[in-house]
Symmetry: C2
Subunit: 306 residues, 2 copies
Amino acid sequence: MSILVVGSIGFDTVTTPHGKVEDALGGSATFFSAAASFFAPVKIVAVVGEDFAPSTLDFLRRAGADTEGVSVDKGQTFRWTGSYGAEMGDATTHATLLNVFQEFRPEIPHAYRGEPFVFLANIDPELQLRVLDQVEKPELVVCDTMDFWISGKRDALVELLKHVDVLVINETEAKTLAGESNPIRAAKAILPMGPSRVVVKLGEYGVMLIGEDKIYRLPAFPVEEVCDPTGAGDSFAGGFVGKLAQTRDLSFEGMHRALLAGAVCASFTVESFSMDRLKGIDRNAIDERCRDLEHIAGWTWSALAV
Amino acid sequence: MSILVVGSIGFDTVTTPHGKVEDALGGSATFFSAAASFFAPVKIVAVVGEDFAPSTLDFLRRAGADTEGVSVDKGQTFRWTGSYGAEMGDATTHATLLNVFQEFRPEIPHAYRGEPFVFLANIDPELQLRVLDQVEKPELVVCDTMDFWISGKRDALVELLKHVDVLVINETEAKTLAGESNPIRAAKAILPMGPSRVVVKLGEYGVMLIGEDKIYRLPAFPVEEVCDPTGAGDSFAGGFVGKLAQTRDLSFEGMHRALLAGAVCASFTVESFSMDRLKGIDRNAIDERCRDLEHIAGWTWSALAV
């Protein structure tokens, strides 16, 4: 099963306690695809500027991604500058240059419109809705969002959620969207808005999956040296949706299991700047770390103990 | 197997977004014992003042706890006043009246000195050392501590850790003790100080167990309405050590499994002020929630799926 992803491609200038990178490859569609491509073919719709060397996405094409939907517009590519403090919590944004992204109106190529899995990366919910208007009935629609849209374009976001199967959202955003101070109550309050499942990202503490009156938790893979958290959420979503596209097991338990792949992809992402670590590993490395995380979470030995 | 616990008994005046209690039963030895007593007999060494009604501890005695080691000194019982904000993070302390606790020099009754399990609740590490001087070689020594001692009595704490098997410590304290910003590196840096296992409490995100080159994680039981976090850490330790005393399985995997009981006791504690919720439940309620948490953590279905 292949996946349509619509999101951003950009260049990040990031400072962390471990150093600094300038104009490193970033963007929600890029991090998502770098992770998802380990599991399933990805078709990317995004926009870049004239300054974007086509070879930049060669690593994704080699992994089976289709980049025909990445259009090149007149102007510069989206750029973000941010930094992280010692605790590696939320980024501080120093500059956001939308550039060609400002006028991005996603046009889904006809060849992509029947994709069974759709991931709407974090962009304006009006554009996310526009994507759903263009695709045929997908098997699974997963979307991400952020505080900026929760407060700035709430109506469009609420409309979007009616058409989404799984919302992937971080803890603070879930609380803001639901107006709740507790993450479980927040996720439960989001369910009636549309998604049948809500995945709440808890950062270094892992993820929570809520729906069908059930809750599942998975810890993050323990990373001792976090180099740069940028893209962790998008590569989590990439591993998660990629795994679902591979297994096609959309049961609640199948989703719980797919969180493993998401958590592991995120753990590789944060170990380097940009997508450097993800680029340097193969599927074996992912699978091995998934087995480690199963063990850490107690899945392995508890299974053996039964 | 029974457990010797040495710690504080006091009265807490606590304000949270859910209300306020005045002079409610609190203290590290009390919360620990309320939880541990579900699993094993507890022998308590602590001090109270003349204002402490002996019947206050009846509920522990009914649960099989031995309170002969609770001495009554001239003066008032230890009192703490604190509050929690909407996010229910760390407490803000408004007043600490040590009262009789100021002169507390734990004397372990002879009948208690051969106890196989010892829990040193969070008190001055010099006093914790004094306890260990008085007991015969226990099978398992578990201890807790806090920032106050980590910075104020570091030498005594470092000496104590040489004689401890398991250190139970919260994330911030582990980082401070180890001088590390990452919780995994922090726990790994603590191991050479003495304990063969370190349990890092991650608050609402659960716990991490580190040792023997292994890491295990367990999520917290998801609580939708946290009424008062006071005592969560001590009742976590009570459930954990109590379960170990019941199973006597001190293997790394046995400890991972025992974390369940700790997490569940903590979850009941935070659902009310003081020990009210723990007092109102029986072992069946604990076991049922343990099974729920196994399911939430993925232990159950992954076992079934194998």
